[in-house]
Symmetry: C4
Subunit: 366 residues, 4 copies
């Protein structure tokens, strides 16, 4: 499906093109870290196949001369239903890292979720970003550290927390194991304590340094009561990310979450798991409109965004393509990626007979 | 599936062979314009797969010594249930363009739908064609221009209008973007105002000139009331082309249309859409015999024509293969393409136990 | 799936190996004639896929130390439920043609259906064959010729007639068209009148000589009453070959046939038709034990024979592999092919817990 | 799916890597014997496809900080629900053969099923193995020999018998036929009588020596009453291996078996049979908790183990990967294979929200 950039057309024309460029400009260890999935990477291909298998039953003759992409998630206004997914260590892709991403997000009016493993501080990102900023976190064994991070994110201006729950341990990403994945010694981790960050530099024979770090720092014992605890220490709304079952989505709401992000961590945790596209309808049905519902995983086309909304999501998170744009051209690369996707989404709405996000209804994919 | 023409067999034996020839003789920019689809071109392959997946439950011992292909669409007699689809700019394929197509259509007694983007005037085509001629159009922002075109088509002898409704904006055809698709300065567009036609010559970096033209001239605001308006200014029957949903088909009939053409614009508009083969049965069921029902998209074999009719269509429109024939050999090329398809359809009827089009019933594909 | 014969193993180990040898030793025009199907040859691959998709739910602990393959079809005893399908012009494959096939059939106690287009006379074959001999025919325009052929077959010792009904016209076999398929002038056709046989020698530009012959000699007007007529002029039981629908199977019985052969002519007539594997269950169900039921098409493994019987057939006809054996080694080649298949069938019975053909029941494939 | 070991990563990271190594270090005849399946090897690929098609609906927030893999099968404690499948002639893979396997099993606390065709005596293996040891056998024509073997296994300390019932005759393994598979003259077969073992050394033109041996020694006449007989001569529990149908599983229990192993002999007996993954649910349902239920076939990932248990199995048998580890590195190779699989299973439990084997329930795969 990838359409390689051709000599006669120096400008990338779709998100696939940016991955081709990134694969060329990034060191293999870095490209593999971003591109890879767990184990056999079955989920990477099944996810794209699942998106492609959904056919849009578009409507015609609906006066689509004026279209609005505006929507609300958690009561926050988004100018279009795409936010940037939390992705670690963006300075590996480009020297300006998360700041470049934030600048590009401004230009396309795109919200952003900052990773705990960001290589730029939440304060610096917040100072730049004029769109909704959310903070992604794990519950660490050291609850005090977690609480401090929550407060810091709040004070920095984040408007929601995203609690990742699919990572009690790190998935087995075999590319990283083969590459003995590790970080440069000078890579900043402003949200990690120094001692912890140092661990990521180690080069290990049979695992990635990240897996070792996760096992030592994060808390595999978390359960729904910890979500209640987290909610008790903050007034920020919490989204639970990594849910693929209706019962877990309902439990998240009942434990105080403001919403759910259907995600399998981009295929990087449990390779044999259900696709997010496959899990979305039952979760949307079980939530029945209570709480925010987002989805990520494999989104590469504007029509994917439209499909996600038709299947019940309020918005999608865009992951790897942002990294490909960042690798290819920093601010400008991310901007192009977001622009292409927004243009595609806009065209998909027009060609499906939708004037607003609210008209992207389930009959379009039934 | 393509069977390349072999040195020892200079005569093409099927429609695939003509595409192979066309790909060789046409400039890449032109071949890509004709052959390409939108975005990932998923629909091009899913459409062929959908045709191939339908199995004919043929009948035997039905005395098929005499077979009739005659049928009626809109009360107009067709000698066989295939018409030539509206296709733009046929002079790009061959110097004689639409006139060559019309001459070939005469020889095989095939009706023809002329595109608004024809490079030959409707008057000139009408002067040649001895078979039903229909005129395809869009509703332009300038309703006066649209009205004038309708009247001109009527006066020229067209017997129906085909209103394309799947193109409020042009689909993203990435081959054209990469090729910076544009037209030669001397290409005639007798149905466009000169100023508009000139726009098609421009070479743009990030889009095709056609997309720019469409956005500036055609009206993305059209809705079902515009269909009623169009019907109010003409006594010609109107077919609505680009429908893939039962509710839209019914709405078309209720808005005054004489029928529906199930089409997704040959996969050139919304890549992720449903196949026409997939959409046809529910539309045939909803129309329940009211109005004409045609289908296009991916027809390459006589058995596809038979399947389409068994699924509820009254006739099919043949698109790209006509262009391949035109590119390969002008009048004679188109004639061969039509002859091959008619022979295949005739044989398919004989081998399915059908003596007439009326015997091509749904039990053949159930 | 083909397992090429390897230098270290000069003996073919399965039926696929024989096709590899045949493709090497036969002239391309002849190999293509035998191997090819109609049009896109979709049916050739869908048929193998259909066989492979059926999974055997084998039984264990059934005392399979003694197994019997004996069965009855039309009241005639077969030592195993496989007969040789009617296949034209076997002298193209090997100088001894149908006589070699008959000698090999004797050695494996396999019955044989002789084609009207045989290059050996029914009398000569009958003189050799010690197993059931059936005669395959078409109804010719010249009913007198048909009647004479029926009487001749009867007198020669044939014990059933196989009326092929899927060929009112010859399917479009594009390999043959490309190859300008024709026969050598000295090829004997003892069941054709000389004038007719001569037509097969002509080399034509856009078709195969066989297609021209069929159109001129066979009767496309035949219907169920002609079956009644055929039955009226002979006391031989008649099997109707080429049926893929339950209603046609029932009609065959009601028109006097003694049974039905589910066949699509090895994918050589209507390419887009249903597979015989797919059609078999509904036909078996509709016939409900009345009349003989056989199937052909794509049988390459002993497990295919077992599956066919479990799906309701009484026996299968084996086609192309016999020709591959004949091409590879005359009598001995056919013998090896039959021996391999019988050994495979025997092993399939043992491993499925079946002591006799009657124990090959539908629960094995449900 | 195979991930080749790369120069920069000398340590294999998954079970696939070990097959790549084994294919390089083993003689072709030996590798083919281990790797091959019957006939077209359809079952080898359909089995992997069947595992991959099952998607895990993982749970989150379940406090998986402490996980237990302990389980019981036949009342015997297993430290994790994987045992080593009975596999013949392990000295072909490595000079230390079954003893190496046993040593590795100790290190990972894995039980082991010893094959009758072991090249190490049950006494020697038992002297080493500190985990459950079961003995696999066939019922031989010579019931006295069978009885003696049962008593010998019991006295050697085996705690269960595994009766293989899918092999009344040996499957047609075409790689072995092509390779004229045979054994070295000095290969020990401590559980076979000398005369019988000698037969395995013969090199035959059209079969493997093993097929000849099986046909001469084992009893194709066995039926359910022979299971009763076997149970009558021993107090050891008997598991019936090779069942793929619910009715056969129930019959096994009713004939005195202590449980069932769903198996198709690794695709080496009846190529066209149902996959074990496909057969497992109906068998689990029919057994309804009575007796032990194990499964083998194609297990390559920790998630496969989890899926098997979610589908109703109490444990799985691991086959070929053990041989690849043995070939690659003797004790250490097998140890690494088991370690990798146990680590993967542990991670799969954690990422699925399971703290113990009892929490691996059917809703995870529904």
């Amino acid at each position: 499906m990838t359409s390689p950039t051709q000599p006669s057309a120096p400008l990338p024309v779709n998100l696939h093109d940016f991955e081709v460029i990134a694969a060329r400009v990034l060191p293999k260890m870095v490209y593999d870290y971003y591109a890879g999935g767990a184990n056999d990477e079955v989920l990477l291909s099944s996810t794209r196949a699942a998106w492609d298998a959904i056919e849009i039953r578009y409507r015609v003759m609906r006066d689509v001369s004026a279209r609005s992409w505006a929507c609300k998630v958690l009561g926050q206004s988004l100018s279009w239903p795409v936010m940037i997914a939390p992705m670690a260590m963006q300075r590996m892709a480009h020297a300006e890292g998360e700041l470049a991403t934030a600048h590009a997000a401004n230009q396309l009016a795109t919200g952003m979720v900052l990773s705990t493993l960001s290589t730029t501080s939440v304060e610096d990102v917040s100072a730049v970003l004029k769109q909704p900023l959310w903070f992604q976190l794990y519950i660490e064994k050291d609850r005090g550290a977690t609480k401090a991070l929550v407060e810091r994110a709040h004070e920095a201006g984040c408007r929601a927390l995203v609690l990742t729950v699919d990572t009690p341990l790190l998935g087995r990403r075999e590319r990283d194991v083969r590459n003995q994945f590790h970080l440069k010694a000078d890579m900043p981790f402003p949200h990690l304590r120094v001692a912890a960050g140092d661990a990521l530099v180690a080069q290990e024979a049979t695992t990635s340094s990240l897996a070792t770090y996760v096992a030592s720092q994060w808390d595999a014992s978390i359960s729904w009561k910890d979500l209640a605890w987290l909610q008790s220490i903050t007034t920020l709304p919490i989204l639970v990310k990594g849910v693929v079952r209706a019962d877990d989505a309902v439990m998240a709401l009942e434990s105080g979450a403001a919403g759910v992000i259907v995600s399998n961590h981009g295929g990087r945790q449990l390779d044999a798991s259900v696709t997010t596209v496959g899990a979305l309808p039952e979760i949307a049905n079980a939530m029945a409109g209570r709480g925010a519902l987002l989805v990520d995983g494999g989104v590469r086309r504007g029509t994917d965004v439209l499909k996600a909304i038709a299947l019940g999501a309020h918005a999608v998170l865009l992951g790897r393509p942002v990294l490909w744009g960042l690798s290819a051209g920093g601010v400008d690369g991310v901007k192009q990626v977001l622009q292409l996707l927004r243009d595609e989404f806009d065209l998909a709405m027009a060609l499906s007979g939708c004037r607003g996000v609210g008209e992207i209804t389930s009959d379009l994919v039934a």
